[in-house]
């Protein structure tokens, strides 16, 4: 059995050194030995064989972000339900009521965004009015 801290971590150090040397060697070797062809087609992004159609930095509708945020909220709600389900028997009625409070609060939020039209993809901003 290795005894001191140096002995325990020595293999880690060796592995780290090997990793750095190998990575450096590969980059340097391919730079030294590799053939370099420069042309326009080579500079285009690789899209799995399909010709690129345009710039990726276009503006997205804010709806994507809204839906993503709402998704995270309900996703996290679901995560909270898992540990609760595991200890449900021990918590008895107390756990049931606590979870009921939690779910009712989440549902009232859901009701709010639903009635506000946040889930309706085709609902335009104009139709919603100024506020």
């Amino acid at each position: 059995m290795p005894s001191s801290i140096t002995e325990v971590y020595f293999p880690v150090l060796v592995q780290g050194v090997i990793a750095i040397v190998l990575a450096a060697a590969l980059i340097v070797l391919s730079y030294v030995l590799g053939k370099r062809v420069k042309n326009k087609i080579k500079d285009t992004p690789y899209e799995s064989g399909i010709t690129p159609t345009g710039d990726a930095r276009s503006r997205f509708s804010v709806k994507f972000y809204l839906v993503a945020m709402l998704f995270i909220l309900f996703d996290i709600e679901a995560i909270f339900l898992y540990p609760w389900a595991v200890v449900y028997r021990e918590l008895k009625m107390f756990g049931f009521i606590e979870m009921l409070v939690f779910v009712v609060l989440i549902l009232s939020g859901f009701f709010y965004i639903w009635r506000k039209g946040a889930l309706d993809w085709s609902y335009s901003d104009r139709a919603r009015g100024k506020r």
């Binding site: 009625m93 107390f94 009232s108 009701f111 709010y112 100024k130 506020r131």
Partner: protein, 487 residues
């Protein structure tokens, strides 16, 4: 840890104000998309009702003070004092909001729901006795405040204000949470009482980690109370936010942040007070000086009051530097007086600013004394109190703070603080001179007559300011009795 199968009913009573505010806020939130009618004042009335109920519940909960939920909450006199204070600020925010929202076609229930959530967060903060609960309350309060700052979403400055507040605020909360992590790492607990015990006990953790934790939490809290050198956000946020919201931000979240500042530093970190005292000392002096001198140069009244609120944060930090129960009581008294005078002053700005908040300059106050004597008289009371003239709450607030500082032998800080208050008199007096000794401006001439809500929003804080100035012992005695925090 054993799991209790039932919530103790006494715990629920001690938690009642938060429950009422959350239920009322949620009710208001779901009402908005159901009732498509916008013009009614019903939302305002409902949220006033909720706040009044929460106020009663806070006082009722104090009939049987003690810890709740296994020591996570501590409903003592200190918590009750600040609960009543932040709920009171909420009521004084809603009163001028009726006209303000109507003027901007923005009468939604979301405004009131967010306000109630924010106040619920503040109630949780001031009664929490555990760092995680404090953090939760801080976040509930802050996130609602960020949205409120950008409530008028067609207004560019409101957007800038909300974005700045959100980015810098979440950054500051990160600092606070990092400090909490260090405390948990070195003491193994987040309960304020247990942290105090761990720091004084035989196996006290390394002072380096505890010192770092205290410093990190100091940064987070100093941001929330807008104390220098973490004050730069305040003028921009206060200027851009809708004026009733500015009134709220400058009083409610600030008082709650000071409450947890006092509670954490006077209980948990009390054993290492020699370490943090220079930090708070420096921050107090910087806040007073930067706030007062920058306010001299402002032409926009909201920015002026923002810098003045930075200076006032400095005065309260002087009370914390005294690190005595007398200092804590002085800080509590000051925050109450400050809430009244500041919310009142902002209510006047909100009244005068007109649609689109056009009139916010010092010049726009010209001739207000001639056109609207009552409004001008009320603003005079608030400004005199902000200066610290006798017979107003501001005077006794400063008096008790500097008395506590002298008792703790902080002679230099007291002298510099008093010099600072003399500087501050200039820019408040400038506003007074403008009101009474100049020809009426366009703003003063066009100002609409005082509505019922606005009159109440001016007269109530004015009465509060005067009562605190004439019978200071009513509040000070309670503050003195509750300043001895559980260690």
């Amino acid at each position: 840890m054993p799991v209790s199968n039932f919530v103790n009913p006494a715990d629920l009573v001690r938690f009642l104000p938060e429950i009422i505010l959350t239920v009322m806020g949620t009710l208001l939130m779901v009402l908005d998309p159901v009732l498509h009618k916008r013009s009614s004042y019903a939302f305002g009335h409902l949220s006033l009702l909720g706040l009044a109920a929460a106020l009663v519940a806070s006082v009722y909960a104090f009939r049987d003070p003690g810890p709740a939920f296994g020591g996570m909450l501590m409903v003592d006199g200190f918590a009750t004092f600040f609960r009543v204070l932040v709920i009171g600020v909420g009521i004084l925010t809603i009163l001028p909001s009726y006209r303000f929202l109507a003027r901007h076609d923005a009468e939604t229930s979301e405004y009131h729901a967010l306000l109630l959530y924010s106040i619920a967060g503040q109630c949780l903060m001031v009664s929490a006795n555990e760092l995680i609960m404090i953090f939760l309350g801080l976040e509930i309060s802050s996130i609602a405040s960020y949205i409120l700052a950008g409530y008028l979403r067609d207004d560019k400055r409101a957007n800038e204000s909300a974005l700045k507040y959100f980015l810098l605020g979440s950054f500051a909360t990160g600092f606070f949470l990092y400090g909490v992590a260090f405390i948990y790492g070195s003491t193994g607990t987040v309960n304020l009482t247990s942290v105090h015990a761990a720091l004084t006990g035989p196996n006290a953790p390394s002072p380096v980690f505890v010192g770092v934790a205290a410093a990190l939490m100091f940064v987070g809290l100093a941001f929330k109370v807008s104390a220098a050198p973490f004050q730069v956000w305040a003028p921009d946020v206060y200027q851009g936010a809708p004026t009733p919201v500015t009134a709220f931000l400058s009083a409610g979240p600030k008082a709650a942040a000071f409450a947890i500042f006092l509670r954490i530093f006077m209980t948990s970190f009390q054993p290492i007070a020699n370490g943090w005292e220079p930090l708070v000392w420096g921050s107090a002096l910087l806040s007073m000086t930067i706030g007062n001198f920058a306010a001299l140069l402002q032409s926009n009244v909201k920015r002026l009051l923002a810098y003045s609120s930075i200076a006032h944060a400095g005065y309260v930090l002087v009370a914390l530097t005294a690190r005595s129960d007398v200092g804590t009581a002085a800080a509590m008294f000051y925050l109450a007086a400050y809430a009244f005078m500041n919310v009142g002053a902002f209510a006047v700005v909100s009244h005068l600013s007109g649609r689109g908040e056009r009139y916010q300059n010092v010049d726009d106050f010209a001739g207000l004394g001639q056109k609207q004597p009552l409004t001008a008289a009320m603003l005079t009371i608030f400004l005199l109190s902000l200066i610290g003239v006798p017979l107003t709450g501001g005077f006794f607030g400063k008096f008790y703070i500097f008395k506590a500082a002298l008792e703790s032998h902080l002679v230099w800080l007291t002298v510099l603080g008093l010099l600072n208050s003399a500087v501050a008199a200039y820019y408040y007096l400038r506003l007074l001179v403008m009101m009474y000794m100049h020809e009426p401006s366009e703003a003063a001439t066009n100002a609409e007559p005082l509505s019922f809500g606005l009159s109440a929003a001016l007269i109530l804080p004015a009465l509060g300011t005067l009562v605190l100035g004439i019978f200071p012992s009513w509040v000070l005695e309670f503050a003195g009795r509750s300043s001895n925090l559980v260690k």
